[in-house]
């Protein structure tokens, strides 16, 4: 137990936390991103060529976003995550203000005001909220070692509820569901009492019921949600997306119809296929082999995130990893689930795959956060 040995070991570890960077965490997102670029090209090229436009234009923009994402990931790795705790409060404040602003001046996309257009760059503050909510909520919950009493729980709920309320006004149901999953998981793991959790779950359910009935949700959102539940209702109406995506995935079979050969994909049967429904293109063109491989890669990411949570040095680090894990699991399950007909349709991007710059940047930043916690577990 000599002090010299301890100092030496510490110095060595502090000098090179990079030695503990987890390749199984960092590499799969890069592979998924690459596959995403190919599939975005596949879904958009026919359409763009018919319009006489550059068939690579979406791929190029997504590639730029991916590079920004990797930069964000590196940045998140570089800063010790303990420092992120304070920085995140600022980030949380700024994004909340952006959410307020976007309601006033944001661009209207498919009936929802969700983003800023700054020249050709579009920023969706709701995506940024995911990252900052994880950090701030994990930070707050970690302060209370003995678990949260009712007062603390209410504060935590206000922290989560403020951006969620603003996002509900856009309206962006999908992102709110992701934030709910994050919040619920962090609170559950962070020590909220079992009865509180039950109350929370019930409250969440009744909020959903009220939202559907009081008209906070737009009619199209309700239609899509309910057409999932009512088997075969109106096959050419709101259930259309679901039917077409299921047909596309099903037609892929074991090995798929071949890249760029999927009839559903190439004739653009599935709406929003380069964004929320990108999994259908993988399913149709690359088949079960491709789809399962993709799920496997996501599984790797989730496993290594879970492992980082288990090995984390402190509560804050652990809760950060848990929050990110909840985010990825929920997004993958909901997104792939709706493409294969076991979840209702909501606008949630598939991380690293779906076309959309804010989503990919935030997803990489989250990977960076987990890698950071994992790397500095001895500090």
């Amino acid at each position: 137990m000599s002090g010299a040995v301890l100092t030496d070991r510490r110095a060595r570890l502090q000098a090179s936390p990079l030695r503990h960077l987890d390749p199984l965490l960092v590499i799969p997102p890069l592979l998924i991103t690459a596959l995403g670029l190919v599939m975005i090209y596949s879904t958009k090229r026919t359409q763009l060529e018919q319009l006489g436009e550059d068939p690579y234009q979406f791929v190029k923009r997504q590639a730029v976003a991916a590079v920004l994402g990797v930069v964000a990931m590196i940045a998140m790795i570089a800063i010790d995550y303990h420092k992120l705790r304070e920085l995140a409060i600022w980030g949380y404040g700024v994004t909340t203000l952006m959410l307020v602003a976007v309601l006033g001046i944001g661009a209207d996309v498919k009936g929802a005001q969700a983003r800023f257009d700054i020249g050709s760059i579009q920023i969706q503050p709701a995506e940024l909220v995911k990252l900052f909510l994880v950090l701030v909520l994990a930070g707050y919950v970690a302060m209370h070692r003995e678990g949260l009493d009712t007062g603390h729980l209410l504060v935590a709920l206000v922290i989560a509820g403020l951006p969620m309320g603003l996002i509900m006004l856009e309206p962006d149901l999908g992102t709110d569901l992701v934030l709910m999953a994050i919040t619920f998981t962090i609170l559950a793991v962070g020590g909220v009492k079992a009865r509180h959790l039950i109350v929370l779950a019930l409250a969440g359910a009744s909020v959903a019921v009220v939202a559907v009935n009081v008209g906070v949700l737009e009619q199209y959102q309700i239609d899509r949600l309910t057409s999932f539940a009512v088997e075969g209702s109106d096959p050419r109406g709101s259930g259309y997306n679901q039917d077409q995506s299921e047909i596309a995935v099903g037609a892929g079979g074991l090995t798929g119809q071949g890249l760029f050969e999927g009839t559903q994909t190439q004739s653009a049967y599935v709406p929003e296929q380069h964004t929320d429904f990108i999994f259908t293109a993988v399913g149709e063109e690359l088949g079960f082999v491709g789809g399962a491989t993709l799920l496997g890669l996501f599984g790797l990411v989730v496993w290594r995130t879970w492992r980082a949570a288990v090995l984390a040095d402190d509560r804050f680090g652990m809760l950060c990893c848990v929050g990110v894990l909840a985010m990825f699991v929920f997004q993958v399950f909901e997104n792939v689930g709706m493409a294969i007909g076991i979840m209702p349709i909501t606008g949630i991007p598939l991380p690293f795959m779906s076309y959309g710059g804010s989503s990919i940047v935030v997803s990489f930043a989250c990977i960076g956060l987990v890698a950071n916690v994992h790397m500095r577990r001895f500090s």
Binding site: A251, L254, A326, I342
Partner: protein, 640 residues
């Protein structure tokens, strides 16, 4: 920490469960139950229908419609009609429309109609008939009542060469247009004239309807509808009134020539063939084409809805003298004495002459080294002592032969100014395309020693002499020999000289507007280059003299014209094995020209006899004077 461990583990278990569910469902869809989804994908298909956009209109400079669209209520039959349906539908339609079965069968088999569109059976059908057909679809399978847009050339053949026509895109055009706005077979495209060069403005953007159909072709739903965007309108620089007079005058002048005896033909009585000609009217101040006529001509309306093959062959047959050719910019002719403007400028540039210098014209000229070879004035008329202005007025060949000989001497001795003819000609735009926005323009030819050597090497049998000889330069001086120009080039050169030295790229479009009339773009005049105009005052004096002074070559034609209205130059170009080409280039007002009017008639005889009266009549229209019809009487007039 232990309790947290437990909770994190629970989260892990939940995540594992959710992923397992995804795998299971994916296995079920893609492996266990894949067959039924493959079938569903096959029965599912999208049909994309293109809706053609309404093509933009073409107006004259004052906004009068030259080309617009006629919307006709039509009964059409789909190409996919089965023989069985056809047997039922055709007699029913014949009765409904009051036409015979044979007429309908003929239309159905008409090769002119695109195989990619429905076949129009009857146009301008009463509204009740359309309603009847659509309400009794079960009796009329594959029959539809729809609105079809037809291109309409409002003034018939007027301006046909300028406007061009439209037709179904062919495979070459499709290949050329690939990626530039998604044309497909069956689409309409501009084929000639402004319809071709302003295609991208006029066309608009097709609408698209994507329909999802089931395996039996029934429409299940509309996936996407994009309305077509109508094309932009093009306002031309053409003045409809002047264009009409130009075409009439050209036709009259040609008719007149055909009644006129060719006095150069000594072996008997013969009139001029005058099979073809052209008129160009330019605004000298900005290069705008005010009128452009070419004869023989055609009616673009004949192309609407497809032109029959026999008629197309006829339009492209030699015996009809190729009415589709726009001779104003595709015809290449020896310019004859109209070229003397270029020779005069070249002579002054070289220093071979000065504006005041006189030469004694004894009616013939020979080059010092070859004194027995004579170059004669027309009929060997001797004009005595002539200076530059007088030489232009009376069209003394000897004056210009002398310059040609002088410059040849300088070329041989490498003295300065030897290449002044060629340099001046090229500066004034000869031997190169003007770049006007009309198809099929030719570049003409400015001959020189290098060119002569080149054609000799390429074809020694036809061109035995590789050397640039004195005669080449001397003939060049009077617009004979190997020089070729299009009417547009020559008019444009006169315009550049007339306006004080600015050579414009001739333009036909004044403004592009969208369908609502909002300006999209206003093409600005394009200056090709500044050109020298030495001795401008003397040259204009000479050209004015040709119209007003005693013995001026065109004095008789313009008798009665007030002073100062017109200056100009006649030209009579000799062509091997053909009668003379008749030229006149006029400028108005005489001394500060605003407009240049050029007429040329192939095998039309003397410039003063045939071309000058055509120009006179157009000049009358431009200057608001009463028009003098061109008499069809025998007559001649002398000129070189």
């Amino acid at each position: 920490m232990n309790e947290h461990r437990v909770r994190v583990s629970i989260v892990g278990v939940i995540a594992l469960a959710l992923f397992s569910a995804l795998f299971a469902r994916l296995w079920y869809l893609q492996v266990a139950a894949s067959g039924e989804f493959v079938a569903a994908a096959q029965s599912n298909s999208v049909r994309t229908l293109q809706e053609p956009p309404l093509r933009g209109r073409i107006f004259d400079v004052k906004g009068r419609a030259l080309v617009d669209n006629r919307i006709a209520s039509a009964i059409t039959i789909d190409r996919k009609i089965t023989d069985e349906e056809r047997g039922l539908v055709v007699p029913r339609l014949a009765e409904l429309l009051g036409i015979t079965v044979a007429e309908i069968e003929e239309k159905l088999d008409d090769p002119r109609v695109s195989p990619y569109t429905a076949v129009p059976i009857a146009l301008d059908v009463p509204y009740e008939t359309l309603v009847y057909v659509s309400e009794h679809q079960e009796d009329f399978p594959a029959v539809r009542g729809e609105q079809l847009a037809y291109r309409r050339y409002v003034n018939g053949s007027l301006g046909a060469h300028l406007l061009g026509y439209v037709g179904e895109i062919n495979e070459d055009e499709l290949a050329a247009q690939l990626g530039k706005g998604a044309y497909q077979l069956g689409d309409t495209i501009g084929k000639n004239g402004v319809e071709q060069t302003y295609e991208s403005e006029l066309r608009g953007k097709p609408g698209v309807r994507r329909l999802e159909v089931d395996s039996s072709g029934r429409v299940l739903r509309t996936i996407e509808t994009r309305r077509p965007r109508p094309g932009n309108d093009v306002r031309l620089t053409i003045d409809l009134d002047i264009q009409r007079v130009a075409e009439e005058s050209l036709a009259q002048g040609m008719l007149g020539a055909r009644a006129m005896q060719d006095e150069t033909f000594k072996e008997g009585y013969k009139t001029y063939a005058a099979p073809a000609g052209a008129v160009v009217v330019l605004d000298a101040l900005d290069g705008s084409v005010v009128a452009m006529a070419s004869n023989p001509t055609f009616d673009p309306n004949e192309f609407v809805g497809g032109i029959a093959t026999p008629r197309w062959d006829q339009l492209n047959d030699k015996s009809g003298h190729f009415p589709l050719t726009n001779r104003a910019l595709s015809g290449q002719y020896a310019p004859g004495s109209t070229w003397k403007l270029v020779t005069a400028i070249g002579g002054l540039q070289s220093g071979a002459i000065t504006p005041g210098k006189s030469i004694t014209d004894k009616g013939r000229y020979s080059y010092p080294t070859d004194p027995q070879r004579f170059f004669d004035n027309d009929n060997r008329i001797a004009y005595g002592s002539v200076n530059l202005a007088r030489a232009l007025t009376v069209s003394s060949d000897v004056f210009f032969y002398t310059i040609g000989g002088d410059l040849y001497y300088r070329q041989r001795r490498d003295l300065p100014g030897g290449d002044a003819f060629q340099e001046t000609a090229r500066a004034y735009g000869f031997g190169a395309l003007t770049g006007i926005a009309l198809p099929s323009e030719q570049s003409g030819r400015v001959p020189d020693a290098a060119w002569k050597e080149q054609i000799n090497q390429a074809n020694p049998a036809a061109f035995p002499y590789p050397d640039w000889l004195p005669g080449d330069n001397i003939q060049f001086a009077v617009g004979q020999g190997d020089v070729l120009t299009t009417p547009l080039q020559l008019a444009n050169a006169y315009a550049a000289f007339g306006n004080g030295g600015t050579l414009f790229q001739p333009r036909v479009a004044a403004e592009i507007t969208d369908a609502a009339g909002k300006a999209v773009s206003t093409p600005e005049p394009i200056v090709i280059r500044q050109v020298p105009t030495p001795g401008r005052a003397e040259i204009i004096d000479g050209l004015t003299g040709a119209v007003y002074a005693p013995k001026g070559t065109a004095v008789e034609v313009f008798s009665g014209f007030p002073e100062g209205i017109v200056s100009g130059k006649t030209g009579t170009a000799q062509v091997a094995n053909k009668q003379n080409t008749s030229w006149f280039v006029g400028m108005t007002p005489a001394a500060a020209p605003r407009y240049v009017v050029l007429a040329v008639v192939e095998e039309g005889g003397y410039g003063a006899a045939t071309a000058a009266p055509i120009v006179r009549r157009v000049m009358q229209a431009i200057n608001g004077m009463p028009l003098t019809e061109i008499a069809v009487t025998a007559g001649g007039g002398a000129d070189t």
